[in-house]
């Protein structure tokens, strides 16, 4: 009994010392360019230890860069990182199952951090309260535990929605590449290019409520404000107009209606339709850039988001979290810190066309080696995105159902089952029920 207690005491003490070391070095290294460096004691302790990184990627470039960063991390710490690559579509399903089975990874790249607050490590214990200030304000809402107000993860990249166009097809149709436009211009141009090139569709958008929120924001309609209130009713008519603008294209078969209606509750992206040159305009986001740069056999480019009442796009992002069940929490936390530090994030941004979440990188600016003009447009759209667009991020646990309901209601409008107005009214009622679950 005594020896167990002693072991426990030693374990607690060493964890405390290591944690204190990390906090101390984090605070003292605030000025250092190299970022937080592990101490000699930590290096000795971490040598030969293994942690698991649960990861999904949108492009091959992300995976390749992650592998090279892991190799550098292993060299730096002497620890081993096992990379578990998971498809995006089963990301939450598999992670939930692993947590439930007591087999959580040490660190994970996530899309819906709100589901994991109870399982996540409090990063302030390791890196201090000021660590949150390293990141762009607003980007940390989704990784701040609403009950404890502690930082339980970090924003890993910001994503920005917006349109891609097939430049070759625009040229052939004699339609100039837009530098600024509204939705009427976009649709007119898309239809003209479709007619000139004989493409199957004029426009295609990811099957996603998140993407639709971009259009709604441009028309001045929002679902949840920063105080976590349902504000869709106050912009009901603008939201209806936005919804009708998109669903009319699908109803008229000028957008891939079958892809949207025929896939039920599954996510589907028309990226392959754009790559096959069957639509001149593809409305998605910056995460497609690396894949399109590799696969598209034609000239394409990112163009600014259409501006109605508002310009800009709609923010999204991915996050990193470390888990409480880690056998080496300090190593897991440090790995997370390492991936999100300025050097690694800058490398990832350059190679995988990410938008940084760190204040230092935002102020310094990123020079993208290729497709810098495209990234410039995303960065301008990020700056032009209204603050109201971040409101929904204050209710992280109900974001997914709210977006999914919007997607499903759009399907009903496209199929002619309900009107756009009815869809928005139903969405208002649904948001109320979702927000009520948080208040409970």
């Amino acid at each position: 009994m005594k020896s167990i207690s002693l072991r426990k005491i030693i374990a607690i003490a060493s964890t405390f010392v290591l944690t204190a070391g990390l906090v101390a070095t984090a605070q003292s290294s605030a000025q250092a360019d190299a970022g937080l460096q592990p101490t000699a004691n930590q290096l000795a302790d971490w040598k030969g230890k293994e942690i698991t990184y649960y990861f999904y990627n949108d492009s091959q470039a992300e995976l390749d860069t992650t592998k090279s960063q892991i190799a550098a991390f292993e060299k730096l710490t002497g620890a081993k990182v096992k990379l578990d690559v998971i498809p995006f579509t089963s990301l939450d399903q598999q992670l939930q199952a692993r947590i439930a089975a007591g087999n959580a990874p040490d660190v994970a790249r996530l899309n819906n951090p709100g589901f994991y607050y109870n399982s996540a490590l409090n990063l302030e214990t390791f890196f201090g309260k000021k660590y949150v200030n390293d990141f762009v304000k607003g980007s940390t809402y989704q990784v701040t535990d609403p009950s404890t107000k502690k930082l339980v993860g970090v924003p890993y990249d910001l994503s920005m929605n917006g349109p891609f166009i097939n430049v070759d097809q625009f040229k052939k149709a004699g339609v100039p590449v837009p530098t600024s436009w509204n939705w009427t211009d976009l649709i007119a141009a898309a239809k003209k290019v479709q007619a000139a090139n004989g493409t199957e569709y004029a426009f295609a958008m990811d099957k996603s409520g998140h993407r639709m929120s971009t259009v709604m924001s441009q028309f001045g309609a929002y679902m949840v404000d920063r105080a976590g209130r349902n504000v869709l009713s106050s912009s009901r008519f603008r939201a209806t107009k936005a919804l009708k603008t998109i669903t009319d294209l699908y109803k008229a078969d000028q957008a891939p209606r079958d892809l949207w209606i025929g896939t039920g509750t599954k996510y589907s992206s028309p990226v392959s339709i754009f790559v096959a040159q069957q639509t001149p305009v593809f409305f998605s986001g910056n995460w497609n850039l690396a894949t399109l740069a590799r696969d598209a056999k034609f000239n394409f480019q990112v163009v600014p988001n259409p501006k109605e009442l508002n310009g800009g796009g709609w923010p999204g992002g991915k996050f990193l979290m470390a888990f409480k069940t880690s056998k080496t929490p300090d190593l897991a936390a440090y790995f997370l810190y390492y991936l999100a530090d300025a050097n690694q994030m800058e490398e990832m941004c350059k190679k995988a066309f990410w938008i940084p979440t760190r204040n230092d990188l935002v102020s310094k600016g990123i020079t993208y080696p290729t497709r810098s003009a495209d990234m410039e447009i995303y960065l301008k759209d990020t700056a032009a995105t209204p603050a109201a667009a971040y409101g929904i991020q204050t209710v992280p646990t109900v974001i997914a159902p709210i977006y999914n309901k919007l997607r499903d209601l759009m399907t009903e409008v496209m199929a002619g089952k309900i009107t756009a107005q009815q869809a928005i009214d139903q969405q208002i009622a649904f948001i109320n029920t979702q927000l009520a679950t948080i208040k409970k």
Binding site: N112, F115, N118, R257, I261, T265, P401, A415
Partner: protein
Amino acid sequence: MMVSPSNVTKRRRSTFTWRRRLVPYVFIAPNLFIFLTFIIWPALRGIYISFFDSMDGSQFTYVGTANYKAIFNDPTVATIARNTAIYVVFYMLISTLLSLTFAIIINQQKFARGFFRSIVFLPVMLSPIVVGLIWNDVLDRKVGPLNTLLEAIGGGSPGWLVEPKLGMISAIFVGVWVHLGFYTIILLAGLQGIDSSIFEAATMDGATRWQITRRITLPLLKPTTLIIVILSTIHGFQSFDFIYTLTGGGPLGATTLIVQYIYERAFQSPIQYGLGSAAGVILFLIIFAFTALNFLVGKRREAI
């Protein structure tokens, strides 16, 4: 002290009997272990979890029967129950009738019976996910081979996966296509178990092929047919994987069945393990009730 030979024989006999009794259990022990660990324990755990609420699988809050109440108050459940009922009834009826027909035809086949049996059985060996993907391509409204063919003969281009009614028809068709071979093989085995002298006698008495089928084959196949009805009912209720890749539960939720409801509650955002488990328990009770009913009806008919 001397031990009498009769005592030794008795002891040996008793050891032998004890061993004979034990051996079967030793043989089934590995399977039993797997069955208890991977079927019974998760099922019991599922029933237990159905009374709790959990979003992460690590923290559970006791909610009593709230999950069951939530399911019955969910307005989408009525539509899903209706979809499931339509799917199960048509799937079971078509599967049973077609497999019976196929089994009788193949059984009467003198030439290349093995070949036809293999052809019918082939879809059973495909992964359901692959089946869904293949038929998704075949039934595509714009570029699918089926509609290309239909258009060529002036049949238009129906939205097999886009129109709700056609979506359900497509799902039933693919479901039947997947499992038909399995049921046919079971019925074929049943057919081959019937004494051929009964058929010979009927033929000698001047019975036609239809009369033989109606008066001899079908009545003697009743026990096997009952198994097919039970199995197809269970499969119908459990259908999910190929439907999910075929239609995703669409169009407009027309092919969303109860298992997809369970899957989406348990594994998709927002994750609700308790609700998913409660729906699983309800599905178990429904299948159990139908199976018992089928069995009892079958038994009663047999008795009559």
